[in-house]
């Protein structure tokens, strides 16, 4: 298992190389001269020239890339074009806000989704099943910015239970996490239900019953572990959707996180800031997929150790 994890971590290296290359080229493939952009459209050519030199834009591309990479590995993403502050200092607190939001939302999706899915599967066609699946369908179809606004309207403005905006206090966490976690919970509930139903009809479940195992243990020990394999896949994929969902959720709830930072940076054509954000988000996504792969290995012993 340990060797498997180490091997998978080494396999991430080429992926991350790819990401840095793409991010690096982004600056050179987009129209417009970054130096010109930094200096302003009306700046004299000498100023632009000086900035180009400072940024190393006259060097051949490979040299520029290596210089870029050297900085990136030390988490030096340069300074923002907007305020000349080091990007990393600006990004760090926002990054933790988004990470918190993403983790809480994912946990909510997983717990709600799996429990709802199991209840649905165990009581197939019952009132509870129909109700859960109906709610899940709504959760899936609702755009999350709309859900966010509705929650805010009811629970903040009408009922006054939670503050409508911001991030940090426990009360401020509730609405954004529900907003962001609902779609995932719905997807996971539907997946868990169908996967459980398939597993429950398997021969080895009958074997467990014939052994005298209690029904509860059959569901949670014998069936769930097998049923979770496709659920883990969906959860991993869902995390990508979730990251993009943070942009809208953070905007709706005025949360000072990375999602909003990316949008603001793109709007301002703040290339170094965009680059930094993309690299950080890519690393997060890649790490989540690593966790998915490792849980696979735990759930499904047939996955080759060398794979």
């Amino acid at each position: 298992m340990i060797t498997y994890i180490i091997r998978r971590i080494f396999q991430l290296i080429p992926v991350l190389f790819g990401v840095t290359i793409l991010v690096f080229l982004m600056m050179h493939l987009t129209p417009g001269n970054p130096a010109q952009l930094m200096a302003g459209e009306t700046a004299p050519p000498e100023v632009v020239e000086r900035i180009e030199k400072r940024l190393g834009l006259h060097d051949p591309l490979p040299v520029q890339y290596v210089n870029f990479l050297k900085k990136v590995v030390t988490l030096d993403f340069g300074v923002s074009m907007r305020n000349s502050l080091p990007i990393i200092d600006e990004l760090r607190p926002k990054f933790w806000v988004t990470i918190e939001l993403a983790i809480y939302s994912t946990l909510l999706s997983i717990f709600m989704g799996i429990i709802a899915g199991i209840v649905s599967a165990v009581r197939k066609y019952s009132f509870a099943d129909v109700a859960i699946m109906l709610v899940a369908l709504f959760g899936l179809s609702m755009p999350n910015f709309w859900l966010g606004l509705m929650l805010m309207q009811w629970f903040s403005i009408n009922l006054g239970w939670f503050p409508p905006t911001g991030w940090g206090s426990p009360g401020q966490v509730v609405l954004p996490v529900i907003t962001l976690g609902t779609a995932g919970a719905a997807v996971i509930a539907r997946m868990t239900r169908s996967s459980m139903l398939e597993v429950i009809s398997q021969d080895y479940i009958r074997t467990a019953r014939a052994k005298g195992v209690r029904e509860r243990v059959i569901i949670y020990r014998h069936a769930l572990k097998n049923a979770l394999i496709p659920v883990v896949t969906v959860t991993g994929l869902q995390f990508g959707t979730l990251l993009s969902g943070t942009v809208l959720t953070e905007t709706v709830f005025a949360i000072n996180g990375m999602g909003r930072y990316v949008i603001d940076s793109i709007m301002a054509r703040d290339f170094p800031a965009v680059q930094a954000s993309i690299i950080v988000i890519s690393i997060m996504f890649v790490l989540v997929n690593l966790i998915v792969d490792i849980s696979y290995r735990y759930l499904n012993k047939r996955i080759d150790l060398n794979g």
Binding site: D203, Y204, A210, E215, K301
Partner: protein, 338 residues
């Protein structure tokens, strides 16, 4: 019979499946047989004869929409039909165990062999990890699995079909049950492995002194392993006899048909004669004898009236008009009667 003590008596067992449209499929329709202590009884029949449902009914493992509708399952005098889930769990895997047809899919792919066998010890004997591990190894040794210390940590997919069926047997026999129900235990295995597994079951039966219900469609398996045989057709027992009598002197036309369609070395055969027709589907079940449409001797009465399972001779039971006083057809067909 009578002289021997019966560990299990199934009396007039009825198990039906209730379909959404309100119809009822009588999968097991009044099955009666006894299992004498320490003996092996075979339940034989074609696919759809209700033999597997009979087996699952004994352990009350019938899933919705199936239900045991009536009859008795007397295990050591207690009627299992009246048992609730909690009481049944103490029987399953502890007193009566079951092994299944498909060793490939009957083991949980996400747990090791050791974990799956030791679960029985945990449930029924409350043993701790160390003690149950020792017992698991002992059990694996007993079912002839080489280097059990290593196998115990392997997953089912790492084992061959024959090895998996041995693991199934080890799991079923872990708590030394008094009775084993084997539902087509060798059907999915290679012929050479089949013989080994049957041999193993027999050895363990002698060693543990248990009774076995062997469910199979293979008369060869019956001849090799069983003391008594119940032949089932469309949810009913049509003939019950000891194995010697059944092979030497089959009475029911269905049993005769089965034997004629089987290659045999103990009698002269010109050719194999298949039984004409197919098993009727549940919605077109004949009103009279279920076998009448395929029976070469069927009379008007056979088509209209269902015969009872009658005692004839010593410990033999048969469900056929031919062997009653009311038989109006060709008297020559009674040639088999002693």
């Amino acid at each position: 019979m009578g002289k021997e003590e019966n560990i299990l008596s199934v009396k007039d067992l009825q198990t039906s499946f209730f379909i959404d449209d309100g119809s009822e499929v009588k999968a097991v329709d009044g099955v009666t047989f006894d299992v004498p202590k320490g003996k092996t009884i075979g339940i034989v029949g074609e696919s759809g004869s209700g033999k597997s449902i009979t087996a699952l009914s004994i352990l009350k493992l019938i899933d919705n929409p199936g239900k045991i509708k009536g009859g008795q399952i007397l295990y050591k005098g207690d009627n299992l039909v009246d048992y609730n889930e909690r009481k049944m769990r103490k029987i399953r895997g502890n007193q009566i165990s079951m092994i299944f047809q498909e060793p490939m899919t009957s083991l949980n792919p996400t747990y090791t062999v050791g974990e799956q066998i030791s679960e029985s010890y945990k449930i029924h004997q409350g043993l701790g990890k160390k003690e149950s591990k020792r017992k698991v190894i002992e059990m694996l040794k007993l079912v002839g699995i080489p280097s059990p210390e290593k196998r115990i940590d392997q997953y089912p997919f790492e084992l061959s079909g024959g090895m998996r069926q041995r693991v199934m047997i080890a799991m079923a026999l872990a708590c030394r049950p008094e009775m084993l129900i084997a539902d087509e235990p060798t059907t999915a295995l290679d012929v050479t492995i089949q013989a080994q597994i049957l041999e193993l079951i027999k050895e363990l039966q002698d060693e543990l002194g248990m009774s076995v219900i062997m469910i199979t469609h293979d008369l060869g398996v019956v001849a090799e392993t069983c003391d008594y045989v119940a032949v089932m057709y469309c949810g009913k027992v049509v003939e019950y006899a000891d194995v010697r009598t059944l092979f030497k002197n089959p009475r029911h036309p269905y049993t005769v048909g089965l034997l004629n369609s089987l290659p045999r070395s103990d009698v002269d055969q010109e050719e194999l004669i298949p039984i004409k027709g197919t098993v009727p589907s549940p919605d077109e079940m004949p009103t009279g004898c279920r076998f009448a449409p395929r029976c070469p001797f069927a009379t008007e009465k056979c088509h209209n009236e269902l015969p009872e399972l009658e005692q004839i001779g010593l410990g033999e039971q048969i469900r056929c008009w031919i062997y009653t006083d009311e038989w109006t057809g060709d008297p020559e067909v009674k040639v088999y009667e002693p």
